[in-house]
Point group: C2
Chain length 146, copies 2
């Protein structure tokens, strides 16, 4: 299964020229914790999260309508592609301490944002399914089992 299936759709993004207020509004509207800034080609230039709001804005006294999100986003992003496995995506997030990872196509265009929560939930579903399969196989093998 592609990691894109684990991303909330449609993808939460704003133009690179957006204000922090516009980026926050997208997070609120989509009920997500991160939004990507994309350039004119749809390629991710940065990511801005609810954690950034807490760390960089909440106590700053700045008006989010008056400041550009490009000044507060995280640039130089790690990104995943359609070939990235859930395990690789998880390792990247653990290494960087980020909770979100943009997913791009072969041209670098943003397709989705993977959250560590969706990834953890998918891992649980996968492990549970493996356990269920083994239990079914064992009960079929058991003498006199029905």
């Amino acid at each position: 299964m592609s990691i894109l299936h684990l991303c909330d759709q449609p993808v939460a993004s704003v133009a690179l020229g957006a204000t922090c207020a516009e980026a926050i509004q997208v997070m609120l509207d989509r009920r997500v914790g991160a939004v990507c800034m994309v350039d004119g080609d749809g390629k991710p230039a940065g990511i801005f999260t609810e954690r950034d709001v807490l760390r960089k804005l909440a106590l700053s006294g700045l008006d989010p309508k008056q400041v550009m999100v490009r000044e507060y986003m995280t640039a130089n992003l790690d990104m995943a592609t359609m070939k990235t496995t859930p395990g690789e995506a998880f390792a990247a997030m653990i290494n960087t301490h980020y909770r979100h990872l943009p997913v791009v196509n072969d041209d670098g265009v943003l397709l989705g944002i993977l959250s560590i929560r969706n990834l953890l939930q998918a891992k649980i579903d996968d492990l549970t399914q493996q356990l269920d399969s083994i239990e079914t196989a064992m009960s079929n093998d058991a003498p006199g089992g029905d």
Copy 2:
């Protein structure tokens, strides 16, 4: 294993009379996404999260130093006790759509705050351990296995 072992320690809390700025500062200092408001007896009166900062403050124009967290916290909390299982805690979080659950002792005093992320990670560890046990048992049972 008690769910208290899954909580970040020490617990992030502020007095019920704190400002939003003080609550935000505790979240930043402890690197957590939620803080409990406690009364004079140490009992949780509410919870305030980074999502609340995004939803209630970020676009409000309010100064967090000038507003009391009791006005913006979520009161009437679901709470877990030492007897609550991880499964019950998870169900409570899914039902309420909250990502954090205070854990209290028999007197109702706050002991910790359980996050859904820690809970998901613990579930993965548990399932992985179950799978490993089965694989070990099967390889021991296998004819000619070593």
